[in-house]
Symmetry: C2
């Protein structure tokens, strides 16, 4: 007899998986542990996710979406005001969010950093979404003549890649260094010179 | 009775250490293994290097100097011709050298990638040297009016940081992706827009 007689929703499963992954860490978590929290058999869980890796990927993907992409989307889709200021706010928010999570949500961040290396397709999708947001800001800036005309898609990709040092998880170890703010400022000024 | 009655030179020790580190990998190498190759006691070796970590750091530091910094120095100190072309050649050489080593000299590259994380001071010195080379190129470009006037030190640092994705070892896993050449081209065009 299971607690859930209704079919499990994807979010219920991911909530339980996230909770267990945070508690035990990715290595020590088993699908059985997650099934236990949901009070279902692990067979039931396997009908929804074919492996622990698939569950971990889905948890990370949801976390990236709600914690990173959605808040940034609100900035990117803003209208009115300066596109340059919006671009700077978007980058600052991305960088601050990553740093905050690296420090305060270390389990999820470690899982994400790990996924970055192995789940290339999922990360490409996430990157693609963020670069599209940058493109939106850059296009607004071109329309308002704040930014010079150019290929907004290629420029958006370039801005994202050129700021990797400040938001890519494999640099997290360097974020604690004192010169980070000054370093970003020098990159920002250089990029802005190329955009305006 | 040791083979070397003359004092060991630093380079002799590092040659032996590099040979053993390549053969066994950093984890399995011991100072005793290195001493054996040199036919000295490990006590003799400890008089030169206080730990295996110190030896590994010295080997990596020498490798960075001879394989990366010296060839780039030859480009940076070149005179005549276009500073923009020199800047591009310098970046291309840095990126190609790193990629080549990641693929063809995997043991040294893995050791270097590891050192990047733990030996912050050594890596800062290496970075500082490379950024000084960039500064030299940028100053030449400002002198010849190819590049617009500005703070060459800050611009050199910005160019180095903004291209991290293409030369920092923690991105080595991404270098095999197909879009790398195109990605670098978009970053290069953006940076060039900021510099000229």
């Amino acid at each position: 007899m299971t607690k859930n007689e209704l079919p499990l929703s994807k979010d219920e499963i991911l909530d339980a998986a996230e909770q267990v992954l945070r508690r035990y860490g990715p290595d020590k978590t088993s699908v059985v542990d997650i099934a236990k929290v949901l009070q279902v058999s692990h067979g039931t869980l396997y009908r929804h996710f074919e492996s622990k890796a698939a569950l971990r990927e889905a948890v990370t993907s949801r976390w990236l979406h709600t914690s990173i992409a959605v808040p940034l989307e609100a900035i990117a889709s803003g209208t009115g005001g300066s596109a340059v200021e919006r671009l700077r706010l978007w980058l600052d928010t991305l960088i601050q969010t990553k740093r905050k999570f690296a420090a305060e949500d270390a389990e999820m961040f470690a899982m994400y950093a790990n996924v970055t290396v192995i789940e290339v397709e999922m990360i490409s999708t996430h990157m693609y979404r963020l670069i599209k947001q940058l493109e939106q800001i850059i296009e607004a800036g071109m329309a308002s003549k704040e930014l010079k005309q150019g290929n907004s898609e290629s420029l958006a990709r370039a801005v994202f890649l050129a700021t990797s040092r400040f938001h890519h998880p494999s640099h997290a170890g360097e974020w604690a260094m004192g010169s980070l703010g000054e370093d970003f400022e020098s990159v920002w000024q250089l990029l802005l010179g190329g955009l305006t």
